[in-house]
Amino acid sequence: MKAAVIVFPGSNCDRDVQVALAQATARHASGGAPIMVWHKDADFEKVELIVLPGGFSYGDYLRCGAMAAQSPVMKEVVRRANRGVPVMGICNGFQILTEAGLLPGALIRNANLKFICRDVNLRVETSQSLFTGRYEEGQTIRVPVAHHDGNYIAGDEEMERMEDRGQIAFRYCAPDGTLTSDANPNGSARNIAGIFNETKTVLGLMPHPERLADPALGGSDGRPLFDGLVEALS
């Protein structure tokens, strides 16, 4: 499997996700490390997966992800996503995906207005996707968040449609899997931490699975996501 990690000015988790993917690839398949694609390169080689990494593209100025969504490379990403190429946006990448219209809703300032960096528990809402196939439905995993604007909102109707179609990927939960407001770090509607598009080929999530994909860092609950992707796409 070959993946591309898009690098925007201000991206800062590009290397982190590249490492996590490269390690997963090394464990399961050939294909080598993902290629890094600069935001001005509207044209890049054919890949099986596109990742929009975390960070502060354009300083997160104006609105998180707004300027990145308008960059030349995003036209190409949208075109490929519409043709079914899997796309994953982590943190700032999720914000970019909503700004680019590939995912519904918006991510606004955390309810407590603060940047929050800590491990959270997530409930995996479905294992029926390219991204979550290595998890079990209802499983609780521990993954860090690190963001200022992760408070997910969408209109009521949109939200119902998403629920009906099984577009919710992850929700913030207590260690025992229950959805409490204490477990919700940022005020997201319905404890939403990650969502799919209708076809479940695009995933956006605020938590950083790439930061706990290596036991040396104190956990590896993020690893199955990368392993699953590599396996599904190879």
Partner: protein
């Protein structure tokens, strides 16, 4: 240009004698631009005129030191052809005036000092001191400073992995914000600021120059008084996004062979950076100010040379590499301009609109920079306070809860939750432990990093306090199994023109020097911040110590968390029960007096080397050094981190101090460790001549102290975790 009158000279912070010296150097009167340049170059901030003679007494060398003081940051060998590059710097006054931007630009500045030398920054730390929690400004300052540090560090994508926070009424009118950055570079790709090659182009990169912080360097050297808040417009706004681009662009250029010398524009901006480069190379420099990228119209040479706009660098390129460099900076959307060239004249010539607007001899100006041996009073050390003179608490458990919830000891989670401490995916030891542990990317090795200082000790006995700060930093590195390598210091004091303050300064430096020598722990970089006073009242002496150590292999490190029930807890080091200047004395007994615990550097070294050996030998399961609050607090922190209870039992020993002194005394050179069985450890300790005693066992869901009821971990945790969020007005549980 306006005239240079005696008022103008005084406004520039130059004394009459200093002005005479200027006339002597120039052989004529300076114009305003030249006067401005002298004033910043000779400010305390840039010239270290009051501290230089004392800084020279610090040990700065060791076989593993590659560059000591004198460069933008210190450089030490960490093996495999790599080097750690680090420094700490203050941004105290700006942060008091505008906490968010002051702290943010402080982080930006120290990052530049480190990547200027070719390092990719891999960790930030911050040592913060605020006024009394009940002071009306404290909450606002704390909120703003923490948000500013996070705002900058999070955006540039460098994890903020550690630091310290203290509260004391002595900082009510003058907070301290000291920021430290650690970077990693290849040893064969280290860059310095020494210019060479007559005719080589001098290039300006980064952001445009605005009228920011003009006189900032002078302000940082001037005491606060009434009306300080009037100086507001000099506040600079940081742009972390541009800094991130600047890091990437500089590192990209550094991977080529284009650079002769490179220097960030810090305090005194273009003036001190170009001066320093030329001076170190024994050369001259000619700048064409028409080429300087400006943010505003009509900027004068004075403004351009003295502006402290952030996110800018000066580079001397090899001839013919201009296009290569320009291409890289344009790729990253940064300004790039050739603003001059090196000359053999030994002078700084500034031109604008074809005319010479300034002409200064470089070496004479640098060499004639004033250097003062200011008078000082030896500060008497506070008298020893016998443990028996301090009342025991009615209930030891209640005393522990009170200590764990006090502002100086409570959990700092509210702070580090706002810092991205995991970006770069190499943070192995997160905030909350003894030292942060940051993996060296792509290897199994790691750096251990810490900052430490106990100002109440320094106040009571400067020399002991200075030594203690170093010893504690060394101990924190040791407690994660690291070999301590070197120190950066940030010396924060009051007005050096007052002999008592100078006495504190001298005492602390002497203590630092002794400790660094005894522990083989050289000082490789640092920063001095003087005039930290409000209305004639100095801050407590605060020589913050930043330190870096090396962990050879990550499977041989330790954390403070208790790991398993049924293990033994062993106390390493001798306990006499020193309660002088302790937190127990202040928080529980309500007194502030007495000498701080003595620092026995030989014992420090012996005990530390022993503990490091245990960790490296894989013989123990947890380790924590003892400091504020002593034994009981350390064990509580280990229990909380491990979510596992413990029972503490004093050994049968006729020499034991009174129970409360044993529990809360702050004797130095001590560690608590956990091991499956104490026997092996005790035997090894005996062989090594290290005092050691079994003091308890792990297990259960409560902490049990002698002389108190068991405290459930949940209660311990709320006491420890709640103070800061409640103080900051937040609802709990989120």
């Amino acid at each position: 240009m306006s005239e240079v009158t005696p008022e103008v000279i005084a406004e520039h912070g130059l004394s009459g004698e200093e002005y005479e010296r200027i006339l002597g150097i120039l052989g004529r009167a300076p114009n305003l631009l030249e006067l401005g340049i002298f004033s910043v170059m000779w400010s305390e901030h840039c010239s270290y005129k009051s501290s230089k003679v004392w800084l020279k007494t610090l040990p700065t060398t060791a076989p593993w030191v590659i560059h000591g003081p004198g460069e933008n940051a210190g450089v030490v060998d960490i093996g495999e052809g790599l080097a750690a590059i680090f420094k700490m710097e203050s941004h105290n006054h700006p942060s008091f005036i505008e906490p968010y931007q002051g702290a943010a630009t402080g982080v930006g500045g120290i990052l530049r000092d480190v990547f200027t030398m070719g390092a990719r920054p891999v960790a930030n730390l911050n040592a913060l001191r605020f006024g009394d929690p009940s002071h009306p400004k404290t909450r606002h300052l704390l909120a703003g400073v923490v948000e500013g540090i996070g705002g900058y560090g999070n955006c540039v994508g460098v994890p903020t992995v550690g630091g310290e926070v203290n509260f004391d009424a002595g900082y009510n009118g003058n907070i301290l914000v000291n920021a430290m950055t650690v970077g990693i570079a290849r040893q064969d790709r280290i860059f310095t600021s020494q210019a060479s090659g007559i005719g080589n182009p001098v290039v300006y990169v980064g952001s445009k120059t605005g009228r920011d912080g003009i006189h900032g360097a002078t302000m940082a050297s001037a005491e606060f008084g009434e009306g300080a808040e009037e100086k507001r417009p000099t506040v600079q706004v940081g742009d972390p996004f541009t800094e991130k681009l600047l890091i990437e662009a500089c590192l990209e250029l550094m991977a080529t062979d284009a650079i002769v010398a490179i220097q960030d524009m810090g305090a005194a901006g273009l003036t001190s950076s170009s001066f320093e480069m030329a001076s170190k190379g024994g050369l001259g420099v000619e700048l064409d100010l028409d080429c300087v990228p400006c943010r505003e119209d009509g900027m004068t040479p004075y403004e351009m040379m003295l502006s402290e706009s952030q996110e800018r660098m000066v580079i001397v390129l090899k001839p013919g590499r201009e296009d290569l460099a320009q291409g890289i900076f344009e790729k990253w959307d940064l300004d790039f301009a050739i603003i001059g060239h090196l000359t053999g004249s030994g002078r700084m010539i500034l031109k604008m609109h074809g005319e010479t607007v300034g002409d200064l001899p470089i070496d004479p100006l640098a060499q004639a920079a004033p250097e003062y041996r200011r008078p000082y009073e030896d500060m008497p050390e506070a008298p020893f306070l016998a443990p028996s003179a301090v009342p025991a608490p009615a209930d030891t458990s209640a005393a522990l809860l009170q200590l764990l919830a006090c502002p100086d000891l409570c959990s700092r989670r509210w702070v580090w939750d706002q810092y991205d401490h995991m970006v770069m995916a190499d943070t192995v030891g997160r905030p909350g432990g003894d030292a942060a542990v940051v993996r060296i990317h792509g290897t199994k090795r790691a750096l251990a990093i810490t900052t430490d200082c106990t100002p109440r000790y320094c106040q009571a006995a400067p020399r002991t306090g200075g030594a203690q700060a170093v010893a504690e930093a060394w101990r924190n590195l040791t407690a994660v199994g690291a070999r301590p390598l070197a120190v950066t210091d940030n010396l924060n004091f009051g007005n050096p023109e007052r002999p008592e303050v100078m006495g504190q300064f001298v005492g602390c430096i002497q203590g630092i020097g002794e400790a660094c020598r005894a522990l083989d722990f050289p000082v490789v970089s640092g920063n001095v911040s003087l005039y930290n006073e409000t209305n004639g009242k100095a801050i407590p002496p605060t020589p913050a110590i930043g330190a870096v150590g090396l962990i050879e292999t990550l499977d041989r490190t330790a954390t403070i968390a208790l790991k398993a029930p049924g293990e033994d807890i062993v106390l390493i080091g001798a306990t006499e029960g020193h309660l002088g200047a302790s937190l127990y004395l202040r928080e529980v007994a309500g007194r502030r007096e007495g000498a701080p615990p003595p620092v026995d550097l030989a014992a420090e070294r012996r005990n530390g080397d022993f503990v490091r050996g245990l960790i490296q030998g894989g013989q123990i399961t947890a380790c924590h050094d003892l400091s504020d609050g002593g034994l009981a607090v350390a064990l509580a922190e280990m229990a909380l981190a491990g979510k596992l209870g413990a029972t503490l039992t004093p050994p049968e020993d006729p020499g034991l101090p009174p129970l409360h002194a044993w529990l809360f005394g702050e004797d130095q050179a001590r560690y608590l460790i956990a091991a499956a069985s104490a026997d092996l450890v005790l035997e090894a300790a005996r062989a090594a001549g290290v005092p050691a005693a079994k003091v308890g066992t792990t297990g259960g869901d409560a902490l049990t102290l002698p002389g108190g009821a068991p405290i459930y971990l949940n209660d311990l945790r709320s006491a420890h975790e709640n103070w800061l969020p409640v103080y900051m007005g937040e609802s709990l549980g989120n």
